[in-house]
């Protein structure tokens, strides 16, 4: 039973770590999108930002 339990444990931990990594990557992408939004908002100001953001949303 011990070997079988260790094998299941290893697989369980690996899948959990992978899922956690995906979560971290997802959060990082969300931060990059926020930074892009903030940067676009700061540098424009003539209505072009909205067009830029619309494009961002469609693309992302």
């Amino acid at each position: 039973m011990e070997t079988f339990a260790i094998a299941y444990g290893v697989v369980g931990v690996a899948v959990t770590v992978y899922l956690a990594r995906l979560g971290v990557m997802q959060r990082r992408v969300a931060q990059r999108i926020e930074l892009l939004e903030a940067a676009a908002g700061k540098s424009q100001g003539d209505g072009s930002v909205d067009r830029y953001m619309d494009e961002t949303r469609v693309s992302a």
Binding site: A7, S43, S48
Partner: protein
């Protein structure tokens, strides 16, 4: 589904007479090995489709499959080593199937390292696709190693009906888990690529704006 699989392994599958409970590793070793091979199939197919269409959509599938394949292949080696330690008294031998599986894991690792080191999207996709197609040669070797060469790894042992049923349940549930993770990773790869594109385009726009402001006070209204 995974919970049902675990319950089936613990309570439905009979205990094997010679190896005892250690044999239950089979119900996790075979599904992860199957996912490792399936991932390579997906990666090679996506690579071929990228080479044919030059559409990065296929490269995102290949990238997702490479990551999951590396993980599954690594888990195959670890669970196999645990089982081998209990059954053969040694965690590793240079058995043909074990060696071919190790080579497959190294190929996956190589693909991931190359992918990380190339910056251009299309160049990365092209190199990844070529590596996947070349590496796919190892897949039949892994599958047929026990038949083509003499080694310690069993070919296809006879199993009781209930054992086979539990194994199939596990293969099905791990395949579903793989599909979910693959789709999630592929979506994330697409999102990363889109954001990267926008960052590059935004940087270019910023530079044009800065240059415009400095020279004639022009504002770029596009984007």
């Amino acid at each position: 589904m995974l919970i049902i699989s675990a319950i089936a392994v613990a309570f439905v599958a009979p205990t094997e007479s010679s190896m005892g409970d250690a044999q239950r590793v089979l119900y996790i070793h075979v599904p992860v090995a199957w996912i490792g091979l399936l991932s390579f199939g997906v990666m090679a197919m996506a690579g071929l489709l990228y080479l044919a269409t030059r559409n990065l959509y296929w490269d995102h599938w290949a990238h997702a499959a490479a990551e999951l394949g590396w993980l599954a292949c690594g888990l195959t080696l670890v669970t196999g080593a645990l089982w081998a330690e209990a059954a053969w008294g040694t965690a590793w031998t240079w058995d043909p199937r074990l060696t071919a599986s190790l080579v497959l894991w190294l190929i996956y690792g190589g693909c991931l390292v190359v992918r990380r080191s190339v910056e251009s999207d299309h160049r990365r996709a092209r190199i990844g696709a070529v590596l996947a197609c070349i590496g796919a040669v190892d897949v039949p070797l892994v599958i047929m190693a026990t038949r083509w060469f003499r080694g310690m790894h069993p070919v296809a042992p006879e199993m009781e009906g209930s054992m086979r049923m539990v194994l199939w349940i596990n293969v099905a549930s791990f395949t579903m888990l793989f599909a979910v993770l693959l789709i999630r990773r592929k979506t994330l790869a697409e999102l990363e690529s889109s954001v990267g594109d926008l960052e590059r385009r935004y940087r270019v726009t910023e530079e044009i704006n800065t240059a415009g402001d400095a020279s004639a006070g022009l504002r770029v209204a596009s984007y």
